[in-house]
Symmetry: C2
Subunit: 397 residues, 2 copies
């Protein structure tokens, strides 16, 4: 993997990451193909939208269909039919979402309909599904009961079987409710695991390390310095980013200056529109988030400031609102995606209210297109030094 | 609307129906866009697959979003973004599915998950949601409780508001469990309603009449003769087609010769692969059915005889079977659809088992493509007089 910074503006930069499966420009938004699929979008859609890189969750694929199965079928690219760049995470996030996140009642799994019964039942919740020890993470899959032991070596083996282009070292994500003592222990484990991963990873892949340390400035500094000294191809900033947006920006302001200029920086799991602006401004190169498809599932579609999108409404319309019943306009008047070129808000509202699967396809398509397009605008604005003006148009003064 | 028979072979014929929204060749398979959408398929998919005509359910659109809303939004073509031919049914089928079908525990509504509680509860089942009188049908929508009165005049008004190309006269569908006395009464009502519809229908649309009479030969004959004398643009064969496939073929053998040669004949709601062959052979020109998308929902994908498709397995694979875990082959090796050109059975199985929405899109796409393609093969085989050979390849001797 190669990373080349094309130009910079203050702490922002426009760059290019090249891999055996093609290249992409940064700052980039990476849609999540959790179990090997992005909601209702097929690989032709991704090509048309201009998605050049996706993120697949190692843990999900390991559980089903199994990384050995994917290997036998020719690797993850062939398996999911996507010939662009594929990034796999380490499974560490699931240690949070099925572990501490569940115990603390935070994170998406704790809010998952599937586990709704669980969420209401405090006793059950205490039986978290992920346990962390010095050696690694032990998962009990909540659906199947299957036990999965994830050690640093195992995480490297699984990702090697998948054959993704960019892989992640195993880390332990803590929760915003974890105290400093626990967060420090988890960070130290993450550091030990990072060294293990560097020993065992498949040299055909590019290994990224993950900076941990929660919301604690001194821990984040220690972690960033530790990781920066190691020979990683790039860096993720993971784990708890605190309890507010300002906490998150503080973490980034603390970590980014300590990471090597010539390596890409990935803010893991973040992707709201205001975050994209604020974090690109602070030197983040890569984002991944399920936001576009998750919002689509809820009937939310993205609109730009000319359509009335703003910080308050989080740049989205709630398509089920009765105001759209007779609305012949496209979702977003400046959007060139095929959904906006073809369908009215009134029809999309009808599909949503009729529980038609086509809604989820069309809304996912638009939302992913919208964010991919916004990132292109952001890159262009860095190139021609109009970033601050663009940011003001979107976020206001 | 114009119908031109290009050539015939025994009772089969190849023809062309032309409307203000383009033309299509017959025999044709018409996918169902029940509430204005074909499952996960968008209008570009339909164009690519070669779908030139779809059927929309009048009753569903009348309930939601309302035919007046669709009219205000420029009509059904503009509303759903489809510039091909649109046929609307009359709502008479829902008089069966929400009425007698429910009472008799037959038909898809009686098996609908949504109404599962209802199905188990005999008392509730007796409170059927559709009541028929001499004037028309009164529905109580099971979801919303909304009362809908459908008279022949009203059915014509609604379809005029929708602006579909081909419309249907209001009819009453009986159940295979209806006795002859009831079936006769229902048929006579259907005849009176047909005359009303002829009075009131929008002359910009092409009105089809529906032959009723259940499985009773003398009633079917009476109904076919009655309808044949009226000035309809074409004819549907509707209602109960008996208790077996042979009953259905007997009904067709009785009705088709009594209908005018120069008018198209539509076998309503039928579309299994063996039925397509057997009914085309008996002079049917049009089929509509939810089979391709309904089977997709169940994980069933169509395969041809070279893939092992036959009468026993109903020309379908059950993708969730473990035999496909490592199967790198496409669903169907001769299929030229983009799903078969892109994805393996192993990946599709994984998507299905992971409840990924993308499965339903891909399986629906393949299944619709497969049937549209089969109909083209059938038309070609009539043209070059190889129909019987083709039928033997598929159904055996």
């Amino acid at each position: 993997m190669k990373f080349k910074v094309e130009m910079s503006l203050d702490r922002m930069r426009v760059g290019k990451i090249s891999t055996p499966h093609g290249s992409f420009e940064t700052p980039v938004f990476i849609p999540c193909a959790t179990a090997g699929a992005i909601r209702c979008l097929d690989v032709r859609d991704l090509k048309e939208i201009g998605v050049k890189v996706v993120l697949v969750n190692t843990y999900h694929i390991h559980v089903k269909p199994g990384d050995e199965v994917v290997k036998r079928l020719g690797g993850i690219h062939k398996f999911i039919g996507f010939d662009g760049v594929i990034i796999t995470d380490s499974g560490g996030f699931q240690a949070f979402s099925l572990g501490l996140g569940l115990e603390h009642g935070v994170g998406k799994i704790a809010n998952n309909i599937f586990l709704e019964g669980l969420r209401k039942d405090v006793k059950l919740r205490e039986k978290k599904f992920a346990h962390v020890s010095g050696e690694g993470i032990t998962f009990k899959d909540p659906k199947t009961g299957k036990i999965v032991n994830l050690t640093p070596k195992k995480a490297m083996e699984i990702q090697s079987n998948l054959g993704s282009d960019i892989i992640y070292a195993l880390d332990e994500c803590t929760s915003p409710l974890s105290d400093k003592e626990y967060t420090e222990k988890a960070m130290e484990r993450t550091h030990r695991w990072a060294e293990e991963c560097l020993k065992y990873y498949d040299r055909k892949q590019a290994l990224f390390g993950i900076v941990q340390g929660g919301e604690y400035k001194d821990l984040r500094e220690r972690s960033a310095k530790f990781m920066a000294e190691k020979d990683f191809a790039g860096y993720g900033i993971g784990g708890s980013l605190g309890k507010s947006k300002q906490d998150m920006l503080n973490v980034i302001d603390c970590v980014v200056p300590l990471l090597p200029e010539e390596k890409p920086r990935h803010l893991l799991g973040i992707g709201a529109i205001e975050d994209l602006f604020n974090c690109v401004e602070r030197g983040i190169d890569m984002f991944d988030c399920v936001t576009p498809t998750r919002e689509a599932r809820r009937g939310h579609v993205f609109v730009d400031p000319e359509d009335g999108g703003n910080m308050r409404n989080k740049f989205r319309l709630n398509i089920k609102n009765s105001e759209f019943k007779f609305d012949e306009k496209p979702i977003s008047k400046n959007c060139e995606c095929f959904v906006c070129q073809t369908y009215s808000r009134a029809y999309l509202r009808h599909l949503y209210k009729s529980n038609e699967l086509l809604f989820f396809r069309l809304a996912s398509y638009h939302n992913v297109y919208f964010i991919i397009d916004l990132m292109e605008k952001i890159r262009d604005s860095i190139r021609d030094c109009s970033f601050y003006k663009l940011k003001e148009t979107w976020l206001g003064r």
